[in-house]
């Protein structure tokens, strides 16, 4: 096995083909670090990861395990019923949106009902963020629908479809928060 002590290290350095580089440079770096009382890790810059990566990651997260039968089964059953009502409303709300341009006010009301049941979830930053997004998008879609009636345009329709798709995505995420 090759011996790798300091002597070998210095010998290896001497074998380098090119340089008369400052022989104690690494020592200088270490000394600079120790003078400043910092580690190499602290000396090197930190890189900031893109927050948007969360979106990609969140679609591949492990799902919550199904609830087990326990004394709180009635509360669970009530929650499931409420969520089912919300899910149904979201489904039919989506159908009605495409047919007659209905608003998402029903979904918002149902979300508020859900929040009475699960206040801690509705107080979470994720929920607040998603709910604000949902409200903004529904307002934007309503405006587009009005505009579309006055001035039919394929591009407006296309944008409206895009917003509907975003709304569905957000509703799905909101549902996941409660599951």
């Amino acid at each position: 096995m090759r011996k790798t002590n300091k002597t070998n290290f210095e010998t290896a350095a001497l074998k380098l083909p090119v340089h008369k580089a400052s022989p104690a440079l690494w020592t200088a770096i270490e000394s600079q670090l120790s003078d400043a009382n910092v580690t190499l890790n602290q000396k090197l810059p930190t890189h900031v990861a893109d927050d948007a990566l969360w979106h990609k990651i969140s679609t591949q997260l492990p799902q919550k395990a199904p609830r087990r039968f326990n004394p709180g089964i009635w509360q669970a059953a009530a929650s499931v019923a409420l969520l089912a009502a919300l899910g149904t409303a979201l489904y039919f709300g989506k159908a009605s949106k495409t047919e007659n341009g209905g608003s998402s006010q029903n979904e918002i009301v149902l979300l508020q009902q859900n929040c009475a049941q699960f206040p801690e979830i509705c107080a979470s930053p994720d929920y607040v963020h998603l709910k604000n997004l949902l409200e903004n998008l529904t307002t934007e879609r309503n405006n587009l629908q009005k505009m579309s009636l006055q001035m039919p345009d394929a591009r407006i329709k296309q944008y409206e479809h895009q917003i509907n798709s975003d709304i569905d995505d957000i509703q799905h995420k909101i549902l996941k928060l409660f599951l």
């Binding site: 096995m1 790798t4 090119v18 440079l25 190499l40 930190t46 890189h47 990861a49 990566l53």
Partner: protein
């Protein structure tokens, strides 16, 4: 949220806790991955892949080490898998990189630029030992090499780094 609570909530699939874990560790892990892979795109891909592994592996986390240290091992393995095919343990004579130009003040950015100029094998060992604080035994296990190779690669990495930095000093003199 305390670490243990955060882990418990993540295990239960609480998306808020999972996001908090991501926000809490993303920059530290990304920085490590950027240094290992040497580029932003690979680092981002490895970050994404690493977090998915972490969420799935949290069931096996036993608090024998800190959560951060446990996660870092997963991310380092993920980063290494990404560059594994590129790693070659070069002979001293074969190793020569383009110089990195800098002024007389050695900043963290300059030092990092020089480290990124090292070949993957040298760079990874140097980073794991000198930056991340792993022992040669641990590096050997992580990289699937012998302790002896880890030690010799570190020595050569330092020599090479001297060379890269020294060229600049000579150039600026």
């Amino acid at each position: 949220m305390q670490e243990q609570q955060l882990v418990e909530q993540c295990r239960k699939g609480n998306i808020v806790a999972q996001k908090q874990l991501f926000m809490q560790y993303k920059d530290a892990m990304f920085t490590t991955l950027f240094r290992i892979t040497g580029n932003k795109q690979d680092a981002e891909d490895a970050l994404q892949e690493g977090f998915i592994k972490v969420y799935h592996a949290l069931e096996s986390f036993r608090s024998e080490s800190s959560l951060g240290a446990w996660m870092k091992t997963i991310f380092i393995r993920t980063g290494l898998e990404r560059i594994r095919r590129q790693i070659h343990f070069l002979d001293i004579e074969a190793a020569d990189s383009e110089p990195v130009w800098f002024d007389d003040t050695l900043t963290g950015e300059m030092l990092e630029k020089a480290i990124l100029k090292l070949d993957e094998g040298y760079r990874t060992v140097l980073l794991l030992i000198e930056v991340e604080g792993y022992k040669h035994r641990e590096v050997a296990e992580l990289m699937g090499i012998s302790e002896g190779t880890s030690k010799s690669q570190l020595a050569r990495a330092k020599t090479k780094l001297k060379t890269i930095l020294g060229k600049n000093i000579e150039h600026n003199a």
